[in-house]
Amino acid sequence: MNLIRVLLADDHKLIRAGLRLVVDQQPDLSVVGEADDGRQAVDLAKTLKPDVVVMDIGMPNLNGIEAARQIREIRPDAAVVMLSMHSDEGYVLRALGAGARAYLLKDSATTDLVQAIHAVVEGKSFFSPAVSKVLLQDYMRKLQRSGAEDSYDLLSPREREVLQLVAEGKSNKEVASLLNLSVYTVETHRAKIMQKLDLKGVPELILYAVRKGIIS
C-alpha cells in the first residue's frame, strides 16, 4: 500500500511540529514537506506532488484560500485540508470555493486531522464537529426566525440521494453509475436541487449538506 503523501503549510513552526507528530504517528501517512507561507506551499505542491495539503487559512504572503485555489489548479489530484481558527461560514464557504474538501478548527486539529486526511483521500468531505454545529445552528435560527419552511422538505427522495452523493464529492458520472441513472438525469436532478434550495455552486451545496447533517 502506498503511503499518503502529506504537505504541511502553516506559518508557525510550533503548530507545524505538532501536526507533523500527529501525521507521522500514522503508518499510512507521511509528511513530505513543510511550508512557511502560501507561496511556498504552492511551490512545494508543484515539486513534491503531495496527495494531501494541510494548510492554515491565514498565512503571510499568500493566504490559505488563494494558495488552495492555485494548488487545485496546478494539481487537481491534490486534496486540501484547511485549518482555521474560525467556525464562521464565510471562511468555510470560501475555503470550499477555493477547492478545500476538509475544514478543521485548529482547536481540534490533532483529534480530527487523521480522519480528515483519510476522508479527503477517499474523495469525501470532512468538517470539524464544532463547525458543523455552528453552521447548523445558524441555519436553524434563520429558518425559525424567518418562519420559512425547510426547503429540504421540497426535495424528492431521489433528489436527496443525489444531493448527498454530490456533497460527498462524487462526480455526475459516479452518481449516475451508483444510482443506475443516466448522466443526463443526474444533471437534471442537480439543477433542480440547486433551484429548490436556492444554491449557487457546489461549495454552497456542500455547506448546505453540512448544515443539514447530511454529511459530516
Binding site: H12, L14, I15, I57, M85, K106, T111
Partner: protein, 454 residues
C-alpha cells in the same frame, strides 16, 4: 488654542466704542440741525432788525422832513401874505397860519424822545427858526394892507428871504444827516450780516471737522471690524481643520493600535495557544485509556486551553476582524451580521457586490466600523427583528445603508458617542452621513462616499 480664542475675544471692538460712534453720529446730526435752525432764526432776526432799523429811520427822518417842509411852507405863506393884494385872503391867511402852527407844534411834540444829539440839534434849530418866523409874523399880521404893501419888499428882503435861506441851510443839513443815517443803517446791517456769516461759517467748519473726524473714525472702525472678522474666520477655519485633523488622527491611531494588538494576539498568543492545544491533544491521545485520572486531568487542561483560545480569538476579532484582511469586506460584513444574529434576536441580511472589494482599505475599515456600530446599536436598543445591510458601489459613489425594523428614535434628540463616531469616520473620507429615523418606524443609517480614484 483655547487661549488663542480668548485673546481674540479681548481684541474684538468693544461695545463702548460702538456706543461712542453712535453717539458721535447723533451729535453730528444734532449739530447740523442746530446750525440750520440757527441760520433760519438769524435770517428771520435780521429781517426783523432790518425792518426795525427802517422803521426807526423813518420815525426819525420823516417828522424831521415834515417839520422842515412845514416851516418852509410857513415861510412861503408869510411871503404870499406880504405880497397878497386880495383883502379877502387876510382872514383865511390868519386861520391858515394858526393851522400850520398847530401842525408844526404837534409834529415837534410827537417827535421821538430817543434821538441822537445831532438830530436833537437839528430839531432844535428848526424849532428856533420857527420861533423866529413866528416872531417875524406877529408884527406883519398887525400891519394894515397899505403898510404891508409899503413894507413888503423891505421885509421880504431883510427878514423873510434870509430866513428862507437859513431854512434851506437847515434842510440841507437834514438831508445830509439823512444820508448819513442811511449809511449808518447800511453799515449796521452789513455788520449784522457779516457776523451772521461768520457764525454760519464757524458752525459749518465745526460740523465739517466733526464729520471728517467721525468718518475717519468710522472707516477705521469698519476696517478694524473687517480685519477682525477675517482673522476670526481664519482662526475658526484653522481650528476646525485642526480638530478634524486631530479626530482623523485619533481614528487612524485607534485603527492602527487595534490592528497591531489584534495581530499580536493572533500571531503570538493565538499561535502559541494553538501549539499548546496541539501538544495537549497529542498528550491526550498518548495517555493509556485505562489511566482515567490522568486522562481526566488532561481533558480539563484541554478544555481550559480551548476556552482561552476562544476568548483570545473573540477579542482579536473585535479589535480587528481578520476576515477583512483574509476574505474582504463582504465576507467580513456577512460574518459581522451572523455574529449579531447569533447574539441577539435580530436577523441580519447583508447585500454587497464583488466590486466592494476594489475600494481602498481605509474605506473598507470605515464601512466595516459603521456597520458594526449600527448593527450593535440596532440589536441593543431598537428591538428590531430584521436588519439589512446594503453596500452599493457605483461608478462615482459608494453607498452604504443599514436599516432595521425596530422602534426607531428621534435623531435630533438622541446623539450618542457612537453616532458621532460614525459621522466623524464618514466625514473624514469626504462622505455624507445621515440618519433617517422616527419613533415607531425603524431606522435607516446612510453613508455616501465619493468614490476614490485608485
Amino acid at each position: 488654542m483655547r487661549e488663542h480664542v480668548l485673546n481674540s475675544e479681548g481684541a474684538w471692538p468693544s461695545k463702548k466704542l460702538r456706543l461712542t460712534l453712535l453717539v458721535s453720529f447723533g451729535g453730528l446730526l444734532a449739530l447740523m440741525v442746530i446750525a440750520g435752525l440757527d441760520a433760519l432764526r438769524l435770517a428771520r432776526q435780521m429781517h426783523t432788525q432790518e425792518e426795525e432799523i427802517r422803521q426807526s429811520f423813518l420815525a426819525h427822518t420823516q417828522p424831521l422832513l415834515v417839520l422842515s417842509s412845514s416851516i418852509y411852507i410857513y415861510n412861503d405863506r408869510i411871503q404870499e401874505y406880504l405880497l397878497s393884494q386880495d383883502p379877502q385872503a387876510d382872514g383865511l391867511t390868519a386861520a391858515e397860519f394858526s393851522r400850520l402852527t398847530a401842525e408844526i407844534n404837534s409834529t415837534v411834540s410827537k417827535y421821538p424822545e430817543n434821538c441822537q444829539p445831532e438830530e436833537r440839534a437839528l430839531v432844535e434849530s428848526l424849532q428856533q427858526l420857527f420861533i423866529e418866523q413866528q416872531g417875524m409874523l406877529n408884527p406883519v399880521l398887525s400891519w394894515s394892507r397899505e403898510e404891508r404893501h409899503r413894507q413888503a419888499w423891505r421885509f421880504l428882503n431883510e427878514e423873510v428871504l434870509p430866513q428862507r435861506s437859513r431854512i434851506n441851510e437847515t434842510s440841507e443839513k437834514i438831508a445830509l444827516w439823512n444820508r448819513h443815517q442811511l449809511g449808518a443803517t447800511d453799515r449796521e446791517m452789513f455788520a449784522d450780516f457779516a457776523s451772521l456769516q461768520a457764525r454760519q461759517t464757524k458752525m459749518l467748519a465745526i460740523a465739517l471737522t466733526a464729520g471728517l473726524v467721525l468718518s475717519f473714525a468710522s472707516i477705521l472702525y469698519l476696517l478694524r471690524l473687517g480685519e477682525e472678522g477675517q482673522r476670526r474666520y481664519r482662526e475658526l477655519a484653522h481650528s476646525r481643520a485642526e480638530l478634524e485633523d486631530l479626530s482623523a488622527q485619533l481614528v487612524d491611531a485607534q485603527e492602527t493600535e487595534r490592528r497591531s494588538i489584534s495581530r499580536e494576539l493572533h500571531d503570538e498568543v493565538g499561535q502559541s495557544l494553538g501549539a499548546l492545544l496541539v501538544e495537549v491533544g497529542r498528550l491526550a491521545a498518548s495517555v493509556p485509556s485505562d489511566n482515567a485520572q490522568i486522562k481526566d486531568h488532561v481533558d480539563k487542561i484541554k478544555s481550559v486551553a480551548e476556552t482561552t483560545v476562544e476568548t483570545v480569538r473573540n477579542i482579536a476579532l473585535l479589535l480587528r476582524p481578520s476576515m477583512l484582511d483574509d476574505l474582504g469586506l463582504t465576507a467580513a460584513l456577512e460574518w459581522q451580521g451572523r455574529e449579531v444574529s447569533r447574539r441577539s434576536e435580530m436577523e441580519v441580511e447583508v447585500q454587497s457586490s464583488d466590486s466592494a472589494e476594489e475600494i481602498p482599505e481605509e474605506y473598507k475599515i470605515c464601512i466595516y466600523r459603521i456597520v458594526q456600530e449600527a448593527l450593535n446599536n440596532a440589536a441593543r436598543h431598537s428591538s428590531a427583528k430584521n436588519a439589512k445591510v446594503n453596500i452599493e458601489p457605483t461608478a462615482d459613489k459608494i453607498l452604504v445603508s443599514v436599516s432595521d425594523d425596530g422602534r426607531g428614535f428621534d435623531p435630533r434628540r438622541v446623539r450618542g458617542l457612537g453616532i458621532l463616531g460614525m459621522e466623524e469616520r464618514v466625514r473624514r473620507l469626504g462622505g455624507i452621513f445621515t440618519i433617517d429615523s422616527k419613533p415607531g418606524s425603524g431606522t435607516t443609517l446612510k453613508a455616501e462616499f465619493p468614490r476614490p480614484h485608485v
